[in-house]
Amino acid sequence: MAINWFKYSAPTTFYPLAGKLIPWFAASSAILFAAGLYLGFVVAPSDATQGEFYRIIYIHVPSSILSMFLYLVMAGYAALGLIFNTRLSSMMASAVAPTGALFAFIALWTGALWGKPMWGAWWVWDARLTSELILLFLYLGFIALHASIDDPRRADRAAALLAIVGSVNVPIIYFSVKWWNTLHQGSTIKFTGTSMQVTMQQSMFTMLAACWLYAIAIILMRVRSIILERERNTKWITELAEVKK
C-alpha cells in the first residue's frame, strides 16, 4: 500500500492520472448539479415561513461547508509539503486556495442575498457571517503571500507556515467571534433548521456532492497546470504528448 501511495505522490505519475480522472469528476458534477437544481426548484416544496427564498440554501450551505473544509485540506497539504518536502503536496495546497476562496465568496454572496429578504439587511455582524468573512481574508492572505514571492520553493514554504498558523487560529477565531456576538445581542434572527423535509434534504445533499465533485475537478485541473509550470525543466514534461504537439 505504502509504495502505491508514494508512487502517486510523484508528479510524474500523478499528472496523467489526474488527466484521466478529471472528465469523470466534471461529468458527474454536472449531472448532479442538474439533478440538484431540479430537485431543489421543482420537486421540493416551498418553505412555510420563508416562501421561495429558502431555496438559496441549496447553494449557500454547500459552498459554506466547502469553504471551511477546503481550508483544512489546503492547510493539510501545505503542512505535508513543509514537513516531508513533497513537491506535489505544496502544489496541491496552492491549487486548492483559489477554489476555497471562491466558495467562501459564494457563501458570503448568497448569504447576503438571503439576508436581505429574511433580515431586511444585506449584512449583519453575526458570528457566523463574520467568521466566514475572516476565513475569506485568510484565504486571500495565503494567495497574496504565495503570489508575492517569486521563488516557488520559498513561496510554498512561507505560505505553508501561514496556513498552519491560520488553521490553529480558525477555531479560536470562530469561538471568540461567536462569544463576542452573543454577549451583546440576544439573538439575531436565524433560520431554524427544524426537521428539514426529506426532499429538501435530498436536494441539499445532491448539491453538496455536486459542489464537491466540481471542486475536485477544478483543483485537479489547476494542479496540472502548476505541475507543468514548475516541472518544465524536467525531461518527462518535454516528452508529454500535449507538449510535443
Binding site: L37, F41, G51, E52, F53, R55, I56, I59, H60, S63, P98, T99, L102, F105, I106, W109, T110, L113, W114, K116, P117, Y214, I218, M221, R222, R224, S225, L228, E229, R232, N233, I237, T238, E242, V243
Partner: protein, 55 residues
Amino acid sequence: MSLDIWMRENPLTYVWVGSYAVALLVFAIEVAMVVHKRKITLQQVRLLIEAEESA
C-alpha cells in the same frame, strides 16, 4: 424601496439571478481561467523547449 417590492413579487427570479446565476458564473469564470492558464503554460513550456533545442 423598489428593490424590496420587486424582490417580494419575484422571489424565484431573485433567488435564481442573485444566487444561482452568480454562483454558476463564478464557476464558469474559474473554469475559463484555469483552461486559459493551462493554454498559456503549455505555450510557455513549448517555447522553453524550443529555446533549449536551438541553443
